[in-house]
Symmetry: C2
Subunit: 332 residues, 2 copies
């Protein structure tokens, strides 16, 4: 447990956040909170990949506006996605003329982006940065699993890749903006899971390690937080995370809030173990968590982005699935 | 030209660097300078991908030793590669138990990693970080182009993906370690090139933009530097970069040193437009540039990592090739 916790003394804030969600996400429990709900998976583009890129671009533009800034005020875009070579992100920002840092942290990319952005703002290197991610059910399904036309059956542990994009603008502190007080960079953990349809189990040990270490490094326990949010463990991974904490004699009680469990209603939406994808935690963070902190319904929150780091090829080569979790702590 | 230049006042240094190179690279002009030259593309592993991962792991271990540190001293690994979902990197570090930040900047990833690492050390967040990348001719060729068994013909503008891995340890300043005085984060540039066998042309505008902006932001000109190193423009891209500067009335003279042009002898090694791949700039930096600065043969150097941000799918979907370039400035 070598994970690194960094305390941010000048407390950068989330000064704007935008969420674009797909049609199915827009029929779920958080429907009323998204900035935009798409009518159509292609978003008037020729391909799903171009659509994903456009969604990320539009979420970025919306977040900049919501932060009451202009594009020229953004010193750096920090972005990534699940597509091979992260093309959804690089194509989204190719005409922006804005400094760009590309990340790959699978579904943890949004938390990783906020973390790096907050470190840069806190150090005074830049004034405003945008952390952006996207994912798309159709682009992910055909890249990672099977062509959609096959209509392959899904296993009970499978998760549903969220279609959408989230963008958070991080800037020097403003009145009422949720501020980022600390961050923990996670290490890669591999629990030996080889079933690519059980990401929740693959990611739970990384989530445990990062959250546990953060609490240890900051001398806190679950009762110090109003919410301990995880990215996309889903119903399987969230149950495992609870069990891993219980093995240490720690109960997460009703504080655990997994974005993958909350974005869909699994009973009526046929999403099996819940939502996943880089956009899953991003849209729930931007649409729900940020707003609840601004309303002071949540005063101190851990946001832990989880990512499974496999590829189609690594699964074909019989490798197990390494995972990672990056965490930021937020306060009113 | 919105690129962001950050001056690093506490001047973090490159306190250790290791280079592992493939057999062909070990027959080129820089052969004598690499730490390790591989006998075999599989490196005793079952697949080329596992070999690439192992090479990156070994380069990391070697760099840590050369910096006279232990693994436990490394606060953060910053890493990436060209494989889908960056599996060479995530699998290399999956047992390290060290905080990990995954990047994707194509062949600019090494410069991006040093840049982010230097910003973190300069701000006092961490004491030591490792920037690691790898690439492998066989893994890249079959992922991006054609199965090796086809024996497809290569075009004159094609570049040869370097097999190897480089790792630089960035730490608080030490006597004699090349120190990092400034960095410029590049923006994505797309010059409209659609030929995936002409990366040099796709990347030259991004290299120009970042280097030109860095000089403008720091009030310098080529004569202030002993070397202006670019990552992997190759012979085609390097010529274009010279021309772009000449259009602004600026001559790079003999200061331009492209790692892709220098790693192979194109006349005898059949590498056409030169070397490329994330490891290209990394091994040349670690084996040659760092050493020349330490010997004080070079006193002030720009190191500009270049990356082409396309994927197989984006090329199939008839997109042009966006590119990026991140720069660090080094001094004795």
């Amino acid at each position: 447990m070598n994970n690194k916790t960094i305390v941010l003394r000048s407390t950068p804030g989330i000064i704007g956040a935008a969420s674009f969600a797909g049609k199915k996400e827009g029929e779920g429990p958080l429907a009323a909170k998204f900035d935009v709900i798409l009518d159509d998976a292609k978003y008037l583009e020729k391909t799903w990949e171009k659509a994903e890129s456009k969604i990320q671009y539009d979420a970025y533009q919306t977040a900049v506006k919501k932060a009451e800034l202009n594009e020229a005020d953004i010193d750096c875009i920090i972005s990534g996605d699940l597509l091979n070579q992260c093309i959804a992100s690089t194509f989204a920002h190719r005409d922006s003329d804005t400094p760009y840092l590309g990340l790959y942290g699978a579904c943890s990319t949004f938390a990783e982006g906020i973390l790096i952005g907050a470190l840069m703002v806190n150090a005074g290197y830049i004034n405003h940065t945008a952390a952006c991610v996207s994912s798309h059910f159709c682009t992910a399904e055909r890249q990672f699993r099977t062509p959609l036309e096959y209509g392959a059956q899904r296993t009970p542990t499978a998760q549903w890749t969220v279609t959408g994009a989230g963008c958070a603008i991080i800037g020097t502190r403003r009145e009422n903006a949720p501020f980022i007080t600390a961050a923990t960079i996670g290490a890669i953990k591999d629990g030996g899971i080889t079933d690519a349809n059980n990401m929740g189990a693959a990611m739970a040990p990384a989530a445990f390690e990062t959250i546990y270490t953060h609490m240890k490094n900051t001398g806190t326990s679950p009762k110090d937080y109003d919410m301990i949010a995880t990215g996309d463990l889903g119903h399987v991974g969230a149950r495992l995370l609870r069990e891993l904490f219980e093995m240490e004699g720690i109960s997460l009680e009703n504080r655990l809030f997994d974005c993958g469990c909350e974005i869909f209603d699994s009973n009526t939406q046929d999403t099996h173990a819940g939502g996943s994808g880089a956009a899953c935690s991003a849209v729930v963070f931007c649409a729900h968590i940020v707003e609840e902190i601004k309303k002071r319904n949540l005063k101190r929150v851990l946001f832990a982005g989880t990512g499974a780091l496999q590829s189609v090829l690594s699964v074909q080569q019989k490798e197990s699935i390494p995972a990672i979790c990056h965490l930021i702590e937020l306060s009113v």
